[in-house]
């Protein structure tokens, strides 16, 4: 059970590095939402239910939606 936390921490760092590494914004945003999903599970592990729910809803849901709409506006303009 304890290894789950280390595994998740490892994935967390990998996903964050991926989010920063890729040039294309869409990929990095997807990795960002992956990071926030991993974080939600981590928060559950750390017995912080409220924060997990908030992180899930805002990190995975809202942030991704807003980033995607920003990128679509920018891509729309440059087309």
């Amino acid at each position: 059970m304890i290894y789950l936390e280390y595994l998740l921490l490892l994935f967390l760092i990998i996903a964050a590095v991926m989010a920063v590494y890729f040039e294309d914004e869409v990929i990095s945003i997807i990795f960002l939402s992956v990071v926030s999903v991993i974080l939600t599970t981590l928060y559950l592990l750390y017995q912080a239910a409220d924060v997990a729910l908030a992180e899930a809803v805002i990190g995975a849901g809202l942030n991704t939606a807003i980033y995607m709409s920003a990128i679509s506006q920018i891509r729309e303009k440059s087309k």
């Binding site: 921490l9 760092i13 920063v20 990095s28 926030s36 974080l39 750390y46 017995q47 912080a48 920018i74």
Partner: protein, 111 residues
């Protein structure tokens, strides 16, 4: 000790992206990663292995995790979300005038 390590890695990763990446959206993502790092660190440190600070109907256990940092992080996450949304609107607006989001090409930012 592990949590501090993860916090430092994520925080500096975010700081590096904000400073040295020249794509504005990447900088906002970097900012987001910095915030995520801080909130993760707060919760990780405040977790003392006790149960979630909610009274389950069946048991009135007395040993709870510390609810205060959780409340603070919750507020922090929401503030982080609204600042990211605001920053992204400025980038959209800037894109209407400068049609590039590369911070090197935008001379105005250096001024």
């Amino acid at each position: 000790m592990l949590h501090h390590l993860v916090f430092t890695v994520l925080f500096l990763l975010g700081l590096y992206t904000v400073i040295y990446k020249n794509n504005l959206i990447k900088m906002v993502i970097g900012l987001n990663i910095m915030e995520i790092a801080v909130f993760f660190w707060v919760i990780a440190v405040s977790d003392t292995g006790k149960s979630v600070p909610i009274y389950h109907l069946n048991k009135f256990a007395a040993s709870f995790n510390d609810p205060v940092p959780q409340a603070l992080t919750l507020t922090g996450i929401i503030i982080g979300a609204s600042t990211t949304a605001l920053l992204l609107t400025f980038i959209i607006e800037l894109n209407k005038f400068a049609d590039t989001i590369d911070s090197n090409k935008l001379e105005g930012l250096n001024e």
